[in-house]
């Protein structure tokens, strides 16, 4: 996925960006100018690869019966409001970027999550089997598996 193999991807999840509404119009403008400059710089530096905001509404699907309720999942203050996909050297660099977020001062939070390089299914399968090994106290590597990565464990 990444051309620079030494770099890793991290997802920055923003919450409570609506905290801006508590500021004066002048302060909002100032923070927004900072936000745009911050975002543009990260993209120009090649450290941010995507930058999206989520709409406030949505749906939640859960349970065996596939119940659908109106979202988002958490209350407004704790709902994911947007994300940056960054490509940097390590967690510390991702964290340093997160700490530059201009809306931190009014109450926003930034969650920094690593993104494993393997595809989600492979990653999940690998983690699962390792846990199973520990849980059952044995090696449980299926001989015939549709999940190719499993055989490398």
């Amino acid at each position: 996925m990444s051309s620079a193999s030494t770099k890793s991807e991290y997802l920055l999840l923003f919450r409570n960006t609506d905290c801006l509404a508590t500021l004066s119009a002048e302060e909002i403008k100032k923070v927004m100018v900072e936000w745009v400059a911050w975002s543009d710089r990260l993209i120009a530096e090649g450290r941010a690869k995507a930058n999206r905001a989520l709409g406030r509404t949505g749906k939640i699907v859960s349970g065996k019966d596939r119940n659908i309720t109106d979202g988002p999942f958490a209350e407004a203050k704790e709902a994911v409001a947007g994300y940056f996909l960054v490509e940097v050297a390590d967690l510390d660099e991702a964290l340093a970027i997160a700490r530059e977020c201009p809306t931190l001062s009014c109450g926003a939070t930034v969650e920094v999550r690593p993104m494993p390089k393997e595809c989600p299914a492979h990653q999940l399968a690998a983690a699962t089997l390792r846990e199973i090994d520990g849980f059952f106290g044995r090696q449980s590597v299926p001989e015939s598996s549709a999940v190719g990565a499993v055989s490398t464990i």
Binding site: M32, F73, L95, R113, P114, L129, I132, P142
Partner: protein, 134 residues
């Protein structure tokens, strides 16, 4: 960004990373195969532009003092475990896809959220003053 102008981007946020607990290795393997088949089909259909699982190690930054604490943000059951980026015709279509998630019966929850067409900053800049004046 989109070739088909009537399509929009939606994010599926998966929660409940420990769906496999209580399942046998065979059941887990079978479920994983179904997951991969589901993901691959959505990609082939051009309805899914990407997907990723998120590692459990994380940090949360908050406050004026930019405090850093070990994450993730929510407890394990409610933490975001992965996502799909969909390009589909409507929220209903995205929700129908969410309903196909193979681990819904094992505690996974799928949050379906529209992605705004503009970048976060311009969207916020456009909406905030109205919010304030209201």
């Amino acid at each position: 960004m989109n070739n088909a102008s009537e399509k929009s981007d939606y994010l599926l946020l998966f929660r409940g990373a420990d769906w496999h607990r209580g399942l046998s290795p065979d059941e887990i393997q079978k479920t994983m195969t179904v997951w991969m088949g589901w993901f691959n089909r959505l990609v082939e259909e051009g309805r899914c532009k990407g997907g990723q699982s998120l590692g459990p190690d994380s940090k949360v930054v908050s406050g004026k003092m930019k405090n850093v604490v070990d994450g993730p943000y929510a407890e394990a059951k409610e933490s975001v475990a992965g996502y799909f980026l969909l390009t589909v015709g409507s929220l209903e279509e995205a929700t129908e896809i969410a309903k196909e998630c193979p681990t819904l019966g094992y505690g996974t929850t799928v949050e379906v959220r529209p992605l705004l067409a503009r970048c976060a900053a311009s969207e916020m800049a456009a909406t905030k003053p109205a919010t304030v004046h209201a």
